[in-house]
């Protein structure tokens, strides 16, 4: 008989004994956690790539302040790519006497190559996708522009020298950006009409873009050609560059979810190791017999390995089904956070589940099974003979290697993998130390209690290592859940409550310079309190100490983002509330008009700047260079207008820009905001109460998603508990039979067992609630700077649920061992 055949036949029979159930469960939970989260992450990441191409409106986008060479499009066509073009410029749009500065967006046929333009039939109407463009002689303004001009569909608007008829209302276009201040009204028109507008004159400030799209291979090849042939001033953006803008937060969030699922996988590994040890114990005689009958060590190993592999496959199937369902649940929890339509689940994460199950078995179960195959045949006659002990490196090496491989695979980078492993090890050590102290403390109480209590607590102390492992395993998941509950409930409320009643609740941006006084007067007249009005201009940092930023590399995504994106710049002689100079100094009167700049600490740290560094900026086509005079720490939650980069007055005053401010403002009537919009149509208004509400909802959803992942961790903790119970099963059977022989009632024995498990649940609950409270305090005092009041419900709920869960699992798993007849058990010895 082939070993695989025999192994599977034995497995089918052994299955009924229930001994393999824990191993299967532990693996299935690990697979479910990893594949469930993996499926979601995979879908989100693929959606991010799709969305990134939508943000570009293409796969490749070449931007230039000057007209773009036509040979690029010719080359693209020759290479089989699609191409299109856009021109963006700021211009006043008129309807009769009404005027409004608008972003005029002229597009060529084929636009957008990726993503969809959305329109409606009337201002603020129901949006719908369209695959057409404004025809020649037509424009599609957005609702805000129509409202500001008092226009409707069917009216004509003057754009430059051309008169164009409104046929649709623009709702959104894929490449419109999502920045705070890019919300100027837009009008979409056909590029055919652009010459008639006469807006595009030599030297006029327009942003041109050429769009290209094709297969990934075509795109990659063309991207290389373009990079080699483009002008220096032309900027090439691809998916990789666009992804961070849309996907950074989501990618980071989903990666965190994957790490959270890893905690569950690693706990399951502990259960796998414990179950494997039990498996080896139960198979010592089988292997010895097979060897006596003439089987080789290799045969014995192949037999066990085939059994484990079969369990891994079954666990993968079960775990993947649960993972798939969990992924749907997670998606529901994250609804609203993930706004794009996700592509359907791929098969990659399911494969990941299988690999995880095999890796766990290879790392944690295979080493003892290899030793099992070395059991000498003589064991058949001498029961004291067992498998030879493996060298320490062989026992722990594969386990550590498989954990590292798993962590590395999930995180995708070595530093994060090491950081995660080290953090987890530290948490386990802290939990372990605390659990050991608690177990010892509880064990010492046993002299002061009745029989059942003494029996239960004595068991806890006697199986000390096992008890500590169970407390850690169960406590880890519970700690995470309670900590998240603290963050979700208490901390966000505390932070919101800590904001002074006078904190600004509105932000106003895009205030035209000539209207700023009128605007401030308007708000004041309506009992509003304006903080300070600051100018705001857009500029790109092009060089640091004469080195081009484009050629520099910065540590971290934030540094890269700071370096790449356009900055909002301002100037003032006032430091501003909530600003503190950390080094260097703030401007004095003598600095007026001088090329100096004050930089926020966040910006400084991300780019590694130091005092005296010279920063060069391109502001509206003109070059400015300024030396860093000082660094500022900014208290952002003061909700005051603040900028990373501040200049002294007199340097940038001539650069075109707008103003912004924040205000404590309670409009006297609900209609006042609408009047404000009509009075100052170009001003964009942000209601902080709305934003905070949205933030709260987003955090709630994110926390809920993370919590649901940690539910897997809790289940993994339970599998560890089951594995531990299983390991002590023979001992428990014997003890229970002995006690009953001595006259103990079943209820006494049961009470003893419940005391043991209740104590484990209690210790895990107390540990988890303590750590969650401490964590809450640290986050509150160090990160949010708000007072933190521990929630008694957290303790009650955490401890009670831990006791109930552990008792229930413990009772169910020991029940059969306690119910066996004393005679039968004692005969077996």
């Amino acid at each position: 008989m082939r070993p695989v055949q025999l192994g599977l036949r034995l497995l089918a029979r052994e299955w009924r004994s229930g001994e393999l159930g824990v191993l299967l469960l532990a693996l299935a939970v690990a697979v479910a956690a990893l594949s469930g989260v993996g499926l979601l992450v995979d879908r989100v990441n693929r959606a991010m790539l799709l969305q990134a191409s939508e943000v570009l409106g293409a796969d490749l986008r070449l931007q230039s302040p000057r007209p773009i060479d036509a040979r690029y499009a010719q080359q693209a066509q020759a290479d089989g790519l699609q191409s299109s073009a856009t021109t963006a410029l700021l211009s006043v749009v008129l309807r009769g006497d009404a005027t409004q500065l608008a972003n005029v967006y002229a597009v060529a046929a084929g636009y957008p190559l990726r993503g969809t333009v959305r329109i409606s039939d009337q201002a603020f109407g129901e949006p719908q996708d369209t695959h057409t463009l404004p025809a020649a002689g037509e424009v599609w303004p957005d609702s805000r522009l129509l409202a500001a001009l008092g226009a409707n569909v069917g009216d004509s608007l003057s754009v430059g020298a051309a008169s164009l008829r409104v046929t649709r209302v623009l709702v959104s276009r894929p490449d419109q950006g999502s920045g705070f201040v890019e919300l100027a009204p837009t009008v979409l028109m056909n590029q055919i009409d652009l010459p008639a507008t006469e807006l595009l004159q030599p030297g006029s400030r327009a942003s041109q873009a050429a769009l290209f799209a094709g297969t990934p291979q075509q795109t990659q090849a063309f991207s290389k050609w373009l990079a080699a042939n483009k002008q220096d001033a032309e900027r090439l953006r691809d998916l990789r560059e666009a992804s961070p803008e849309v996907g950074n937060a989501a990618t980071r969030a989903t990666r965190f979810l994957l790490l959270a699922s890893l905690a569950s996988v690693l706990l399951s590994a502990v259960a796998v190791a414990m179950s494997a040890r039990r498996y080896v114990q139960r198979h010592l005689d089988v292997v010895a017999l097979l060897k006596t009958l003439g089987a080789s060590s290799r045969f014995a190993l192949a037999l066990s390995a085939s059994q484990l592999l079969a369990i891994a496959l079954l666990a993968t199937v079960l775990g993947s089904i649960v993972g798939y369902l969990a992924q749907n649940g997670l998606l529901r929890a994250l609804q609203g956070l993930i706004t794009t339509d996700l592509p359907p689940p791929g098969s990659g994460p399911l494969f990941m589940g299988l690999v995880a199950a095999v890796l766990l078995l290879a790392g944690f179960a295979l080493p003892p099974v290899v030793q099992l195959s070395k059991v000498p045949a003589i064991r058949i006659l001498r029961r004291d003979m067992t498998a030879p002990k493996a060298a320490a490196w062989l026992g722990y090496g594969p386990a550590m290697l498989s954990v590292l491989l798993l962590v590395l695979w999930v995180t995708g980078e070595l530093p994060l993998a090491l950081w995660f492993s080290a953090s987890l090890a530290a948490v386990v050590m802290v939990l372990g130390g605390a659990a050991l102290l608690l177990v010892q403390g509880v064990g010492s109480l046993r002299g002061r209690a009745g029989v059942a209590w003494r029996y239960g607590l004595a068991n806890l102390a006697r199986r000390r290592v096992s008890s500590v492992v169970q407390v850690i395993a169960f406590g880890l998941g519970l700690t995470a859940l309670l900590m998240l509950a603290v963050i979700r409930g208490d901390l966000i409320n505390s932070w919101r409550d800590s904001l002074p009643a006078s904190a600004p609740n509105y932000f106003f941006v895009n205030i035209p310079p000539d209207q700023r006084q009128a605007f401030a007067d308007y708000i004041s007249a309506d009992q509003g309190e304006i903080t300070r009005l600051l100018p705001m201009i857009r500029g790109r940092m092009t060089a640091i100490n004469d080195q081009a930023v484009a050629q520099m590399h910065f540590a971290g995504a934030r540094g890269e983002a700071f370096a790449q994106r356009e900055q909002n710049l301002s100037w003032s002689d006032q430091l501003g509330a909530g600003n503190r100079v950390t080094s260097g100094r703030w401007f004095d009167a003598a600095d007026n008009g001088k090329p100096v700049v004050s930089v926020a600490v966040d910006f400084q740290e991300s780019l590694g700047l130091k005092l005296g560094d010279k920063l060069r900026f391109d502001i509206g086509g003109e070059t400015y260079e300024a030396a860093i005079i000082g660094f500022r720490a900014i208290k952002w939650d003061s909700l005051q207008p603040n900028f990373f980069l501040m200049f002294p007055p007199g340097l940038l005053d001539n650069a075109a820009g707008t103003y912004m401010t924040s205000a404590r403002y309670r409009p006297t009537q609900s209609s006042t905001i609408a009047q404000l919009v009509r009075r100052f149509p170009s001003v964009s208004i942000f209601d902080m109460d709305d934003l905070l509400g949205q933030l709260r909802a987003m955090i709630d959803k994110a926390v809920l998603a993370v919590q649901s992942v940690f539910v897997f961790t809790l289940f993994s903790g339970l599998t560890v508990l089951l594995a531990a119970v299983q390991a002590s099963r023979d001992e428990r059977r014997y003890e229970s039979a002995m006690l009953r022989t001595l006259g103990a009632q079943s209820s006494t024995i049961l009470a003893g067992v419940l005391v043991e498990f209740a104590a484990i649940g209690l210790l895990a609950g107390v540990l988890a609630a303590s750590i969650a409270t401490l964590g809450g305090y640290v986050v509150a005092s160090q990160l949010l700077d708000v007072p933190y009041h521990p929630d008694p419900l957290l303790w009650l709920g955490g401890v009670l649920s831990a006791v109930v869960l552990v008792c229930l699992a413990g009772y169910l798993s020991t029940r059969s061992a306690l119910a066996q007849s004393p005679l039968g058990v004692l005969r077996q010895g």
């Binding site: 036949r9 089988v286 006596t292 009958l293 003439g294 089987a295 058949i380 006659l381």
Partner: protein, 223 residues
Amino acid sequence: MDLNIVLEAQDLTRKVSSPEGTLTIVDHISLQIAAGETVALVGASGAGKSTLLALLAGLDLPSSGRIWLAGTEITTLDEDARARLRAERVGFVFQAFHLLPALTALENVMLPLELVGRDDARSAALAMLQRVGLGPRAGHYPRQLSGGEQQRVALARASVTRPAVLFADEPTGNLDTVTGESICQLLFELNAEAGTTLVLVTHDTQLAARCGRMLTMRAGRLE
């Protein structure tokens, strides 16, 4: 070596370490057993009978000395080579039966045949089960069989490969007198039919008396 000798031991010693120091379990034993012979190993508990049996069967290696089994020196073979030799030339019957609980009676008997790759494992095993009177119970699992029936299955398993040597360690030790007697009867019948050499460890003097030769052990030595 005499061609008729199927099992030979030369100056066998087996020592083990214990907390009390090194113990000599088998002390300079030499013996020869001819093909078809039936030999009983008797002696008090702890005399070293089972250890000698394990050494002769190649389950364990001696601290010193040499053993030849069916013409092969097993003391120079590694664990797997000795296992191969056992599969082809040796049968075992144990006091505790040692059936695999997950396999039926038939599957248990098939096991040694399958380990040597016999294609007729099922039919040969079934024939042997019928020979020991358990044909109708071939599909039963060990837990569904009585102690005597389990030992019959074990006898069928030991004999089905027609081994050169059958080793039996207290084959009736776990059975009542009547059942033990019937198992004993069956053991000798099977042995006679196949012409197998039988090496038997027992406390039972009546059983030992039925063997052609009785070797008595005391403190690791043959008397």
